[in-house]
């Protein structure tokens, strides 16, 4: 009862969020039924590739929510959030690599294939522990969180703001991409980590595992959404918006602005890392391409199209843009980037508040 009151308080005045969570809830019930219990020749059957595709969209949505928290509410335009997503993905990828055991091409029980190929004799120190799921899942949050904390602490303490900060975040993800491309780094070089077999003992190719991953992504998105919503509605959320609007005023009121920025940035990076960790087992690969600056820019566009500082707008934007991407890259592979660019320009010019802005407009018209 108390729990119910808590959640209804969080979602009061958030029609978009209510809709998002309701749809998520219905999907977690419908998708397993349509995929597992409806026979394959039935028109209502949902093929497994579609389940995985939707699961992927949900991890993108969680990533977009994490960006919206720092961009929409804190006013920090991070053009490097893909790095945290990829780091979480790598942590999960390392766990999945270790789960392969001796079923790799070389059949070496101690070393992943790419290390055998590179003639390495033993597991590097930073791979230790990743055979244990609890350790790997902890690293999913810890690795991006720690990077964000150190990076944020240095950047915010030196009062780097605005476009300069955006450029540094962009450089961060680019530097990581170059580093991860190198074989000596020990993360599989440009091939990345792939050929996964199982997660927590479940076969990754099985339909039921796919469904499980889809549901896990839905739950992660719902919990991440509610956590962000809680932050936004608390006094912390009001302080964060105050820092966005008048940073020096907040400082002269006694708020240690740097600390607020660092913690929100770190929390957002952890969310992005979790999204990456759920993304990797569903697509079956993680490679340095995930660090590419282009990815981080694209994901900022999702948020801009969905509508900043609304949270649910980020979810809607991420899913719509990625659906459009799937359709477009299938139909006209070369035109996608032009379409994305055009979309961004149009939204910036005519819909500065994104799709959420249209919703708000209609609601206002309805009210009056």
């Amino acid at each position: 009862m108390i729990l119910f009151r808590f959640f209804s308080n969080l979602l009061k005045d958030d029609r978009g969020g209510q809709a998002v969570l309701l749809i998520l809830f219905l999907m977690t019930i419908l998708v397993p039924v349509l995929n597992l219990w409806v026979p394959a020749d039935h028109p209502l059957h949902m093929p497994t590739y579609l389940v995985t595709l939707m699961g992927k969209y949900l991890t993108y949505a969680l990533l977009a929510v994490s960006v919206d928290l720092v961009w929409g509410y804190l006013g920090i335009l991070s053009l490097g959030h893909g790095a945290f997503f990829a780091l979480g993905g790598y942590a999960m990828g390392m766990y999945l690599m270790r789960q392969i055991g001796d079923r790799g091409v070389y059949g070496n029980p101690d070393l992943p294939d790419f290390m055998v190929f590179l003639n390495w004799k033993e597991l590097p120190w930073f791979w230790q522990g990743f055979d244990m799921s609890w350790f790997a899942f902890m690293m999913v949050a810890l690795a991006p969180g720690l990077l964000a904390f150190v990076f944020g602490w240095l950047a915010f303490r030196s009062r780097v703001t605005g476009v300069y900060l955006s450029i540094i975040t962009q450089a961060l993800t680019y530097a990581l991409m170059l580093a991860f491309f190198r074989n000596e780094m020990g993360f599989g070089g440009n091939n990345g980590l792939t050929d996964f077999k199982e997660i927590l003992g479940f076969n990754l190719q099985a339909d039921s595992t796919r469904i499980g991953l889809f549901i896990a992504s839905a739950i992660a998105l719902a919990v991440g959404y509610l956590a962000c919503r809680y932050i936004v509605l608390s006094k912390l959320g009001r302080i964060v918006v105050a820092i966005r609007d008048e940073e020096s005023r907040a400082r002269f009121l006694g708020y240690k602005v740097e600390r607020y920025k660092v913690w929100i940035f770190t929390f957002s990076a952890i969310l992005a890392g979790i999204a990456g960790a759920l993304y990797v087992p569903q697509v079956g690969i993680i490679n340095p391409g995930e660090f590419s600056p282009l990815n981080s820019i694209e994901l900022v566009i999702w948020v801009a199209i969905g509508g900043r500082a609304t949270l649910y707008g980020a979810v809607v934007g991420a899913i719509l843009v990625n659906y459009a991407k799937t359709v477009f890259t299938g139909a006209m592979p070369d035109s996608w980037l032009f379409a994305l660019g055009a979309l961004f320009v149009l939204v910036t010019l005519y819909l500065p508040q994104g799709l959420a802005g249209i919703m708000r407009h209609f609601r206002k018209a309805e009210a009056s």
């Binding site: 008048e246 020096s248 005023r249 400082r251 002269f252 006694g254 602005v257 600390r259 913690w263």
Partner: protein
């Protein structure tokens, strides 16, 4: 020999290393009278001396007006007091024990110095009520703010302040929708709920009507005694109406100090400022 000297200098046994010295004394000590000591301050920006050997003392509970032509260093002085600008040399003490030059802006604000900016600066997307809530004295830590709620005393202070600044009806309105004068008042209200010992008020009546000015004057004079108030203002009528002691700044240092009449009859002041 000189090297030995410099080693001796750094290893002096009669004092601790600067970074070892305690940073902030929590207690504000005004037992000798002044609440603010500014001594031999110098600041220059690219060769321009904004503050030049400035010496200024503000007594506890005093209402002091500071006037001076543009570029006299009034705002720079406030920047130094609140930690925004580091002076090239000199000292700034809050009471006898708190060294302002070693503190950051939030630390200075928490120690009890509130500042109103020249241009009214409020959080435009927050309601008037939320603006005051954000300014409210109390724990300003990150983790605390996740679960923070105002206690009864704070809520009473907030209501009382809304009354004082005459924005009770607009409490739920966003601050961005207020008029210029109302924003000024809101910002003064935000100072009040901080419970500061010293208020630095930069041009409080800019953009106000005459009635609003009178009310602001009453408010500021009523604050003096309990708090110390430093007002920087261009409007001479307003200064005359509230001040009993006026300091004239010129080219970064104090040109004259005294009652309004004394200052106005000071020959040098007339030359640089009032006479023109």
């Amino acid at each position: 020999m000189s090297m030995l000297d410099s080693i001796r200098q750094t290893m002096r046994r009669d004092e601790v290393f600067p970074f070892m010295a305690p940073k902030v004394s929590e207690l504000l000590d005004v037992s000798h009278g002044p609440i603010l000591y500014l001594e031999d301050l110098n600041v220059s920006f690219d060769g321009f001396k904004a503050i030049n050997d400035l010496n200024l003392y503000i007594d506890a509970g005093e209402l002091r007006c500071i006037i001076g032509p543009n570029g006299a260093g009034k705002t720079t002085m406030m920047d130094i007091i609140t930690g925004k600008t580091q002076p090239d040399s000199g000292q700034a003490w809050f009471g006898q024990t708190i060294d302002l030059l070693r503190m950051t802006e939030p630390e200075i604000a928490t120690a009890g110095i509130g500042r109103k900016f020249q241009k009214p600066t409020v959080f435009e997307y927050h309601s008037v009520y939320e603006n005051l809530e954000l300014a409210m004295h109390g724990d300003k830590g990150v983790w605390h703010s996740l679960i923070a709620h105002m206690n009864g005393e704070q809520r009473a202070l907030l209501d009382e302040t809304l009354e004082t600044i005459g924005l009770k009806e607009q409490a739920q309105q966003t601050a961005g929708a207020l008029s210029h004068g109302q924003k000024q008042w809101l910002e003064i209200g935000m100072l009040l709920v901080q419970n500061p010992h010293l208020l630095l008020v930069d041009e409080p009546v800019a953009g106000m009507t005459h009635q609003e000015m009178d009310r602001t004057g009453e408010l500021l004079t009523s604050l003096a005694g309990k708090h110390s108030v430093v007002v920087v203002e261009h409007d001479m009528d307003f200064v005359r109406s509230i001040a009993n002691k006026v300091t004239v700044l010129h080219q970064g240092s104090v040109l004259a100090e005294g009652t309004m009449d004394e200052v106005q009859n000071n020959q040098r002041v007339i030359e640089v400022y009032l006479g023109e």
